[in-house]
Symmetry: D2
Subunit: 468 residues, 4 copies
Amino acid sequence: MDDFGLLNPAWAGTRAAELTSDSAFGQAMLDVESAWCRAQIRFGTAPATIDDAVAAASHIGDYDLGAIASQTPDGANALIPLLSALRDNVSAHQKAAAQYVHRGATSQDIIDTALMLVASRAGEHILTNMKTAVRQLSAMATEHAHTVMIGRSLDQHAQPITFGYRVSQWVEALGSAGQHFETVVDNLPLQWGGAVGTSTWWVDYFKADQPEADPMELVNRQRDLLAQELNLVSAPVWHANRVPVLQLGQTAFQVTAAAAKLANDVLTSVQAENAELTEPTKPGRGGSSAMPHKNNPVLSIRLKHAAQEASGQLNTLQTGVISNTAERADGGWHTEWSALRGLLRLTGAVSEILVELTDGLEVHAKAMRHNLGIHGNAVFLGRLTQWLAPIVEAHGAAEPGSGKRLVESISTTAMANDDDLAQALVAQLPDGVVTVKAVEKMLDPSGYTGGAASIVAEVHSRYRKWSS
Amino acid sequence: MDDFGLLNPAWAGTRAAELTSDSAFGQAMLDVESAWCRAQIRFGTAPATIDDAVAAASHIGDYDLGAIASQTPDGANALIPLLSALRDNVSAHQKAAAQYVHRGATSQDIIDTALMLVASRAGEHILTNMKTAVRQLSAMATEHAHTVMIGRSLDQHAQPITFGYRVSQWVEALGSAGQHFETVVDNLPLQWGGAVGTSTWWVDYFKADQPEADPMELVNRQRDLLAQELNLVSAPVWHANRVPVLQLGQTAFQVTAAAAKLANDVLTSVQAENAELTEPTKPGRGGSSAMPHKNNPVLSIRLKHAAQEASGQLNTLQTGVISNTAERADGGWHTEWSALRGLLRLTGAVSEILVELTDGLEVHAKAMRHNLGIHGNAVFLGRLTQWLAPIVEAHGAAEPGSGKRLVESISTTAMANDDDLAQALVAQLPDGVVTVKAVEKMLDPSGYTGGAASIVAEVHSRYRKWSS
Amino acid sequence: MDDFGLLNPAWAGTRAAELTSDSAFGQAMLDVESAWCRAQIRFGTAPATIDDAVAAASHIGDYDLGAIASQTPDGANALIPLLSALRDNVSAHQKAAAQYVHRGATSQDIIDTALMLVASRAGEHILTNMKTAVRQLSAMATEHAHTVMIGRSLDQHAQPITFGYRVSQWVEALGSAGQHFETVVDNLPLQWGGAVGTSTWWVDYFKADQPEADPMELVNRQRDLLAQELNLVSAPVWHANRVPVLQLGQTAFQVTAAAAKLANDVLTSVQAENAELTEPTKPGRGGSSAMPHKNNPVLSIRLKHAAQEASGQLNTLQTGVISNTAERADGGWHTEWSALRGLLRLTGAVSEILVELTDGLEVHAKAMRHNLGIHGNAVFLGRLTQWLAPIVEAHGAAEPGSGKRLVESISTTAMANDDDLAQALVAQLPDGVVTVKAVEKMLDPSGYTGGAASIVAEVHSRYRKWSS
Amino acid sequence: MDDFGLLNPAWAGTRAAELTSDSAFGQAMLDVESAWCRAQIRFGTAPATIDDAVAAASHIGDYDLGAIASQTPDGANALIPLLSALRDNVSAHQKAAAQYVHRGATSQDIIDTALMLVASRAGEHILTNMKTAVRQLSAMATEHAHTVMIGRSLDQHAQPITFGYRVSQWVEALGSAGQHFETVVDNLPLQWGGAVGTSTWWVDYFKADQPEADPMELVNRQRDLLAQELNLVSAPVWHANRVPVLQLGQTAFQVTAAAAKLANDVLTSVQAENAELTEPTKPGRGGSSAMPHKNNPVLSIRLKHAAQEASGQLNTLQTGVISNTAERADGGWHTEWSALRGLLRLTGAVSEILVELTDGLEVHAKAMRHNLGIHGNAVFLGRLTQWLAPIVEAHGAAEPGSGKRLVESISTTAMANDDDLAQALVAQLPDGVVTVKAVEKMLDPSGYTGGAASIVAEVHSRYRKWSS
């Protein structure tokens, strides 16, 4: 039994899928076990001579993962059968070495730490991609800081914005989510505590070996070496504290959620009626022979789909975490694993898709300008009254407080009759109140984007260093 | 990249995992395509001579699933690359045959129908197991219809029940959930409608071929043949109506949810302090060499874990379904697939675990009786007052309405002093009101299980036929 | 502390909110308690003289719900303080009557049954609305059975459909979901079993009262009377079997999910660039003074939002159900309540919104036709080759098997050059192969909707009786 | 229609419910509007004379929330009707003042900011409680740093721990979650951007008013004043970036998830068979008149229930966030509101319950010691072989590498026969290998808790300052 991703277009064929595969997880478990042997050697509790045997036995390609999977249910984890095979393998290289493998450790130490290793490796991949995507988007925002389009609120035309401004909000979301995720990835904790988290085996060992010393100080120092070997943080035991796992999953989800917003916007914009954006194409992607006009927005579809699945995976993780019990949970812990892997895999795939999508997204400024005009001058009415009402009142053309009503009345009538709005206002207001040119300036969308360009610059400067 | 189940103790190594693997789904897609060729042959729209070529090309083992997975993202589904390979393969057998493959169909027809085929095959497996489990539990309930234990409410001792009664509630939940699921599995719908669900290709075909006929009648008759070939219901097109998928996922979840309740009860009962139940053991399962007293309840842990993950998968499915759009959704549809597969896989694994767990669950009647006694006679106080208060009042030993208070007062004092309750009542109530024997009868838990045995028989009779 | 719906635009101000309010739930609890007194009277276990006192005390308006809420945490349910107040209230009317209130019952009996009563009342409201909405939509589908628009797949133009066909898929989804929900609502179960579900109190009572009878038969007959009083099904006890609650919540969600699909489609169609539909307007709704062109699609927004929240509520319900334990759960049961109420409330609001939306939805056939033309003849290319390729080959204008390529080549070149497609084909194919008129017939979208109208009629006939 | 919490034992009657009520949210909206008037006064864009009128109109108690709720669906938000009433109210105090209310703002500015205000106020309450709870737990951990109990893994006895160690893990989880939440609460962002987030109204205003200045600089400076008034961070606009809301909800959930672990442990421990802990009691709470021995663990039940519901609320929030679109979402935004409020309310209730539970939790050291002995010496077998195997081998009593097997063999036989383990080992091993006293020392659980006490001290020092 094995799965390849046929039902998972979000991540099938991605590098992220490889980095989070069962094989990658299996390798991570072997990496933890072998690092522990090296830590013992460095601390002087194991002989240096075992190093070669352990290293030689630590290639996941040499293990039958299908067989290990089939034994996984017996102890409800994969480490038990893998460890048994590892010990046999080490023994075959050097009989005396096997006793040092997994010494004083428990399944949870290895599984939790291996998942953190997987997170670390996938995390690096994700962050590299996120920075590239943010950089590309930031350049796109800058390029289009003044490309006018209509801003949409509740699916309705609201006021003009610039495409750069919209992109800046994607940058802000992806950038801040990426930074939150990075903080967590930079602090992934080692798990190391033995059967119930209290390091009994090693406390007994050091009590016997160095009776005068504080055994936990030795335990902690030896653990620091392991953390160094694995490039993880030498954290206090968290067997019974699942906040680290929850926080990791949550911040990964922030990234996919931020990407989903971008995808939703692209999916609206690529519709034939809207046509403001086109996804990058490549041979063989997104087309349909029976429907040659189709350019399916598969990148955005995959982003949207990834976020929907990630939300469910995070939900699973939450359910697992809140049902934890005692020193090791009776199901809640087991529930965390594939949910966390799923979140890392999906986030990794999202990061890859983002790099591709943000590199080649085509922007159709002309369509943006066209769509902006659909409602004619209606989108400027608010602006017009804000500007003209006090002028009208100052000229005595309307009672104080009723200028707004007058301007609106003239304008809506003109628009309903398809009259030229500027000329209608000039004609119906007393001489000298307003000129056609002045009205037309107010009806120019390029002057009605408020702080759009300023916000683009601000966002750009906020993420420039991080993403470079 | 492939996964085997190392992070999924719930289903690793199960038959359900095989029945829902990528390979099984790929085979189901091939089965749909080849059945469609046979339906055309039967309807006279394709020559019988293509049958062999199509059949010869329809073995999933001949396809490179890894390669197909890597092409899956391009069109956001696996059918596109598989179909391309299938056509090549058919062509290699018989050049002329390839044109009949997938004729007038669309990706969604194949994928939706293939998932229904997977559901049908997994569903049969699940239902066979569920009936076995319900049968075994029903026998257990009958055997223990009078095995007294304490009933627990909000984690506190409430009133005595019998173990058979508790089991009967498991039966009721599993049996009703199983029947709901069965109704859905027995009515799994074919999906067949072409690009936008209106069968345009075939309507055009039949209009040209049999201009005098109602083309949709021919379309429907040809579709009926396909449904027959696949043993699915020849339902109206549901491209844009995802209620069938939702309902399938929901009823599968009912099964895993019912199993989780059973698992939660077992997990409490196997704790050393409670010790009322023991999970069946087998060599290599659930033990720990470092902790020989351990018999980890891995079957129940896997059931609990499966339900937690299934809840997240159903959540994903829900999110997909509510984001569907137009004639084919932009992500929501894609989200359904692996969630539905996950639900079927987990439910299948649950059904296998249930068969094993309910076959060998050990019941410790002595521990049940012991635990029932922990609070002494306190659990009988309500019964005592219900019975004795009217008698006391009838004898004039208390004012009308105050008999309850008197009985409670004597009883709680006796219990607090560890006095014999029956003797205390006889001593402190007027002569002739009550006898030691009569009180002791009221304090016998085996007489205080209400309709427990009657309920066991009722439940048994409700599911006897279904589960046999 | 009270909430009115300020943060809940989905249901604020709806009838559904009233039917599921705390007050409605409180009334339902009183209704269960008073019905139980009436059932006792009818069965002869309580005197008829208590009826007036109980009835007089059963108006929720006479109780201080704020005070009862503040006592709710003490026993983790609201029945305990309400029952205490009810008994005082009954006593005040007739001292002797209070003892019959809640006799032999437990909190869970009252709360579960009261929730089923709320479901029954809300369910009736929902079903009435659903039938109206389905009826209105069915009429809309019939009216627009031939109104041509483009069918959309993955956000891209696919093939022409008719608007009636799209609506027929809404009908199918809403109708089938409504029927699933109706089946559950028509079979809502009474909960009645006493402390641990075994009716111990009444078994003891009847054993003493009618020693010769089967006490459970009497219990069941008395329970039947209660079910009659409440118009619920006299089901076996389900204290420890939460499948009924899960199934109720699941089928309610089917309704909101089906409505969400409709809403998603409307939300795309009301966008200014698409403009195929307009939501019904009413004074004060959906407008914006600063943006007079806005007609916010608030009905569809509320539907979409309702489904998103309902998915979370169902998730909560699932989490509660899978954590149930023993004879009454330690939290899982409590989690069910407001989730179930939320699902009923949201589904009720959805049903009200659907009635309004489907009554006044404006259809812009002209815009539909316009949008269909955006890609010109590209959407007909598949049809053209299906029809013309065999003709071309039959005329010897192309080798067998290469007709398709020839037709596509001529057509795509013509389209790229903005040439008239029919004339290009006539010009470039040998004389007599094809006529302009014949090509133009193939390019007429109204002839290219396959079985759309037939499907509309089929769906209409399937739900006509149910919805009338 | 109003709700009080009858179906919500988790939060009914809590201070958190008040701080997050509709009334509190309504007050927060008024607070934002009035602070905006003050900010204008301070910036010189509004006259100081309006202050009194605005202040006088800003008491939520003067508004009819039921009526506002019933108008909420029309614009799909409550601000629209509230603002209308506020303007009327301000006008009634001072006609000229009303024009300054909400000037240049949009509904989303007010609603998002008001929710942040509610979060700020609830957040302060939550953090105060969390620090108290952590402080109390930390003291409990210290007091019981050496109170021996059995550690449990997968529901089975594993190795001894101390109760203080278990509590230290609660502290670690609650403390770290609390700190994550605090970081977010300390940085809650103001939302201020006008219709599409670009501050067009004010940019136009300042362009006219101070043509020489950079209008966005003025906009930002005026916004800073508003942030000061509200004690929020003057953040860049986040209309279209929902990461801040997601992160707030996620960290709140971390707190409830950490509390759920504690609750799960308490719920196991209060079971009659385990009896290691008792929840604090108070008159009227958790008891049952019919079952006087019951002390329902309602505090832990409410914590468990709260986490289950919070997980669903967070799921709703996620679903809303990933469906956001354009400059203001069509449903996704609306979905966030009550989900975020629910998370804050539940977390607030959790914090109150934690204070009470951790203040009065009774610890039964004797029961802990008793339960630890259930498996006799079996839990020491690992320790025994770790210690004795090398000694046995060193004495030549076993071949190198087979000492473990010998020790295990003697020990398991002795345990199976109920023989004294120390004497069996002394008797069956060669003279001088081991003494009864030495074995008994290894069988003393108080010496077998590894670094438990050290970890307690470490955790205590980590959270001492934060929680004091």
